[in-house]
């Protein structure tokens, strides 16, 4: 009954919305019903999403569990869904974070419970929808719908500056997405001109890449910029990040958690899913600019985080820095970089949620988030201090924890493509360790004040919602292979779409390595670490026969790769 299939995927996605409709009928003074009810709904959605992890065919790069229904034939818009490994991971991250976000709100939300939990459930469906859609029209729908619940979550249950933060979030993202809409429409009509039909499907948009590549440079660059700005605002990349600190600081804890764990990932997901495969040429042309912004984000975010006095703001700016690192990985346009970027998106989702939850704990108890107000908490709150430490370590990339793997893989990819950029990024990671540890030290150690002495350690509910995050951090850190495997085929497909030269160069390098092995037994140089300069694609061995099996498909044939 619970095998992974399209129906189950839709059920898991729309269950929160259905649950919200049922809860709508409950009278609004039934606080417990909303809390427990929405928690049950979120957990149910999580359980329903688990079979997909096991049922995913890791060898295939196709969109799996695809389903497509006629919707608006005149526009070519279909209700098309399905997931590949990249969507699957983020989709699972969303179902995973959902119950945690609900569970952490029980105490901190003190008014208007009904509305709060209903908006949370609606938001969950909108976010899950973004990751399963395979149609641009439907994608845009989900993408925009998300904003409304978030606006209310911040605007009603937020901090003192909530109105400003809520409207800023809304307008920033809206402005970005309307630009994206123009680009979507422009490509849609270009497609109409070339094929004669109207089609919004993602596969057909990706198949447009060769045709777009024949358009004028300025056309390509404008399209790429429109997509870039739309997604960069969401990520957020410097200099479009200014909404983020406001939104994070003002949002209730659960809002921050969802914002950090999932909403920001929408931007990076957009880059992976749309900008890179649809406009590879323009992306490469503009790469110096994109790269510069990503690097500025890494360093600037870290430096600004260092001087923050508010813990939440510090974590918010650390997000700017970490997401810059993700973007650096994606922009490397080679398998390591992209895998690392995607992997780091998951890690950031886990560790930053953990940090926001941790900040939320002390805020609930003391109603302040200023670092200066705390100190010595490890004495009275040992469990809390341990969890906080794990999350901090995960965030700064300590070995054995998840962050280490992600950062490592990103840097491997970045070194292959842009060695100097990887060096700058390393500096950002060092700064990251500095500000996180400094905050930990100021909050947890040192003399304790009388007020802080009375603070209670975590209760059972709080431990329970931290537990999955801690478990995930260790599990991913100790055993990253399953997740890497899920990404493997889709990333390979993406790299052939974006950077077809890479695999040509790599197969040459592999041959050289094999030859070297024959010559000098025992010296097994890792194939990727050969010179193989992916970005330059220098001297791809023109007539080398493509190896079978994992060989890169010829670049011309990739168009309909995922169409199925």
């Amino acid at each position: 009954m619970f095998t992974a299939n399209t129906t189950l995927m839709l059920v898991a996605t729309f269950l929160p919305l259905l649950g919200a409709l049922v809860l709508l009928l409950v009278p609004k003074d039934q606080r417990r019903v909303f809390e427990i009810g929405s928690l049950i709904i979120m957990i149910a959605s999580l359980l329903l999403s688990l079979p997909f992890w096991f049922g995913y065919d890791r060898a295939s790069d196709a969109v799996q569990w695809a389903g497509s229904w006629t919707w608006i034939p005149a526009l070519g818009a279909r209700f098309a869904v399905g997931m590949d490994g990249i969507s699957l991971l983020l989709w699972l991250l969303t179902t995973f974070i959902g119950p945690i976000a609900i569970a952490c709100s029980f105490k901190s939300i003190e008014e208007r419970h009904k509305e709060y939990y209903l908006w949370m459930l609606v938001l969950q469906t909108a976010m899950l929808g973004v990751f399963i859609t395979q149609d641009m029209f439907l994608f845009y729908l989900f993408w925009e719908v998300m904003l409304v619940p978030m606006y209310f979550l911040i605007g009603i249950w937020g901090g003192p500056q909530k109105l400003y933060a809520a409207i800023k979030l809304f307008l920033y993202t809206l402005a970005g997405s309307v630009l994206m809409l123009v680009a979507i429409l422009a490509i849609y009509f270009l497609q109409h001109k070339t094929t004669g039909g109207y089609d919004f499907s993602l596969a057909s948009f990706q198949a447009m890449a060769p045709i777009i590549a024949q358009q004028s440079k300025s056309y390509q660059h404008l399209m790429a910029l429109a997509f870039f700005i739309g997604f960069a605002i969401k990520v957020p990349m410097f200099p479009f990040h200014t909404w983020l600190p406001d939104a994070h600081v003002q949002a209730p804890t659960a809002g921050s958690v969802i914002l950090a764990a999932i909403l920001l990932k929408m931007g990076t997901y957009g880059f992976v899913r749309f900008l890179l495969p649809i406009l590879p040429g323009a992306t490469k042309d503009l790469m110096p600019w994109f790269l510069t912004l990503a690097l500025i984000g890494i360093i600037y975010g870290a430096l600004v985080a260092m001087i923050q006095k508010d813990m939440k703001k510090l974590v918010a700016y650390s997000s700017v820095s970490h997401l810059g690192l993700c973007m650096l990985g994606l922009f490397a346009l080679n398998p390591y970089g992209i895998k690392g970027g995607l992997f780091q998106m998951l890690n950031h989702g886990i560790s930053t949620s953990g940090l926001f939850l941790a900040v939320g704990i002390v805020y609930e108890r003391r109603h302040t988030r200023m670092i200066a107000d705390f100190g010595g908490l490890s004495k009275t709150m040992p469990v809390y201090a341990t969890i906080f430490m794990i999350m901090t370590m995960s965030s700064i990339g300590l070995p054995l924890l998840n962050g280490f793997i992600g950062e490592g893989v990103i840097l491997m990819g970045a070194f292959q493509a842009f060695p100097w950029a990887a060096m700058v990024a390393t500096l950002g990671i060092i700064l990251g360790a500095a500000y996180m540890l400094w905050m930990f030290q100021r909050v947890m150690f040192g003399p304790i004040t009388a007020v802080n002495e009375k603070m209670e350690d975590l209760n059972l509910r709080e431990i329970l919602y931290f537990a999955p995050l801690v478990a995930a951090a260790f599990w991913i850190g100790l055993n990253p292979t399953p997740i890497m495997d899920v990404m493997d085929a889709p990333v390979r497909k993406l790299v052939t779409q974006v950077n077809p030269d890479f695999y040509k160069a790599e197969s040459l390098a592999a041959k050289q390595a094999a030859a070297a092995k024959l010559g000098m037994r025992g010296m097994s140089a890792p194939a990727h670490h050969g010179e193989a300069p992916a970005a330059h694609g220098a001297a791809p061995a023109g007539h080398e026969a493509e190896p079978a099996g994992h060989g890169a498909p010829a670049p011309e044939a990739h168009g309909h790769g995922g169409g199925k």
């Binding site: 526009l75 904003l147 109105l163 809520a166 409207i167 809206l174 630009l179 123009v182 429409l185 849609y188």
Partner: protein, 487 residues
């Protein structure tokens, strides 16, 4: 002489069926004034509202029955465009009547004339939708507008209402003068033989280069006259004042029905009549459309009065719809404008219903009157939020669908810069629409909620459901829009 009379009689016999709905409206509305008015005493005047609704339903039925064709010396033409926009006008009028009942009751201002004037004005709109000659365009506009001047000043013991009526009248008369002058220039330029739009389209293309200036100024003046009627920037100055002063149901009326009719005329005059000389008007109209979007949306941000906010937002929406008029493919343009207008009527009427509800206790004029509505009347506030977000074009609400279809067309026709302006300004519009949402949900309520009239509740409920689920029924909407064609 007898030959002429005989010809006239023949023409009437042949063509009368084309204008059956209008004739029906005029006759019935006249009968309502006398002797109809004698049947109800002062306390029973509100019964005219349901009667008017029945009349509107019959008119709508007649409109669907009228066969396609052209008549009255090719002054009036019944085709898909006419029918589609006529139905929109009737829909908007029905909404207005439903909105009016309770408000007029509470003001003790129920009269038969109010409803009769709506019907007379509607008959003018129905003519305007099908007017295929510059002369019939002009007299239909006048018939429609004169009734609305009176309706705007309907609350004659209120200074604002009278002032609004006066302003609207003066500027309306002024713009009519410009329109007529433009028509006369074009008549002269085309050789002084015809004012028929289809003929003009051919004649204007053949005019000698010496009369280029004549054609250009004529087209421009007609453009200005029409832009006044739809309140496009920079000819919009009358509209915020008129909207604010008019009784609120009439504000809702002005924002929808006459605009639908005037846009139909706009589409026909410029799409059919001046299509050949499009180089003369595309550039000015581009600026008018762009300016309407920018100014409408930016000026709305600062408003404190809800009616002024909706007035400026309607200027912006007209700016969007002018994108459809600009379309090089008039048929596709007409379809997109029709679809947008249909959606706009639904969401705008819904929003006005909520404003009128709040006016029931003397509020609703100011945006801060919405404060705490989310707590006092959660369902109503939710509906208002749906209308506002839909006006802002947030998916999946149906307002997004209309905008999407319109902007898609504009990009297809190559108006990329204008579309980017449209999209960015619609992001600006989210700011002031959300400002109202903010008042409803983020502020604490004051005072008690008042009960809501059945008619208003009906409008709010129906409109809210339509706006919520409309996008899912996109195929039907597009199919209807596909019926908007020319013969």
């Amino acid at each position: 002489m007898t030959g002429f009379a005989q010809g006239l009689l023949n023409a009437l016999q042949r063509d009368t069926h084309l204008i059956m709905p209008q004739l029906f409206l005029m006759v019935v509305a006249t009968l309502m004034l006398w002797p109809g008015d004698l049947f109800f005493n002062r306390a029973e005047k509100h019964k005219w509202a349901p009667i008017t609704l029945v009349i509107l339903a019959v008119t709508a039925f007649l409109v669907t029955r009228v066969p396609e064709g052209e008549g009255f010396s090719r002054m009036f033409r019944m085709d898909g465009l006419t029918r589609g926009f006529q139905l929109l006008c009737i829909l908007a009028s029905a909404g207005t009547v439903l909105l009016s009942v309770r408000l007029l009751d509470s003001l003790k201002q129920q009269t038969v004339e109010y409803y009769a004037l709506i019907l007379f004005s509607l008959s003018g709109m129905l003519f305007l939708c099908g007017a295929s000659d510059l002369i019939s365009v002009y007299f239909s506009i006048e018939l429609m507008a004169i009734c609305i001047y009176i309706l705007v000043a309907y609350l004659r013991d209120r200074a604002t209402s009278v002032e609004a009526g006066m302003k609207y009248f003066l500027l309306g008369a002024f713009s009519s003068g410009i329109l007529v002058y433009g028509i006369s220039l074009i008549y002269g330029a085309a050789g002084g033989v015809t004012t028929n739009l289809a003929d003009l389209n051919q004649l204007l293309a053949l005019t000698p280069t010496t009369s280029n200036l004549l054609v250009y100024s004529g087209v421009l003046m007609v453009l200005v006259g029409m832009a006044f009627k739809v309140a496009a920037v920079p000819f919009h100055m009358w509209s915020p004042d008129a909207y604010e002063g008019a009784p609120t149901p009439i504000t809702a009326f002005m924002a929808t029905a006459p605009k639908a009719a005037a846009l139909a005329a706009f589409l026909r005059v410029f799409g059919a009549g001046f299509h050949g000389v499009s180089s003369d008007w595309v550039m000015p109209l581009t600026y008018i459309a762009g300016a309407s979007m920018i100014l409408g949306n930016v000026a709305a941000v600062k408003q404190e009065s809800m009616k002024r906010l909706l007035a400026y937002s309607s200027i912006a929406h007209v700016g969007y719809m002018l994108l459809g008029v600009l379309s090089g493919d008039p048929k596709a343009g007409a379809q997109a404008v029709w679809l947008y207008m249909l959606i706009y009527i639904v969401m705008n009427t819904g929003a006005f219903a909520v404003v009128i509800y709040l006016q029931g206790k003397g509020e609703g004029e100011r945006i801060e009157d919405f404060r705490g509505l989310g707590k006092k009347r959660p369902v109503l506030a939710f509906a208002m939020m749906v209308f506002l977000l839909s006006l802002a074009g947030i998916p999946p609400l149906v307002g997004f669908f209309g905008k999407f279809y319109l902007f898609k067309l504009a990009i297809e026709q190559g108006f990329v810069t204008l579309t980017v302006i449209a999209l960015l300004t619609s992001a600006v519009s989210a700011y002031y629409y959300l400002g109202v949402v903010k008042e409803m949900y983020f502020k604490e309520p004051e005072g008690e909620a008042i009960p809501m009239g059945a008619a208003q509740a009906f409008i709010v409920g129906v409109a809210c459901v339509l706006v919520l689920v409309g996008t899912a029924f996109g195929p039907w909407l597009l199919k209807w829009a596909g019926e908007i064609f020319w013969i």
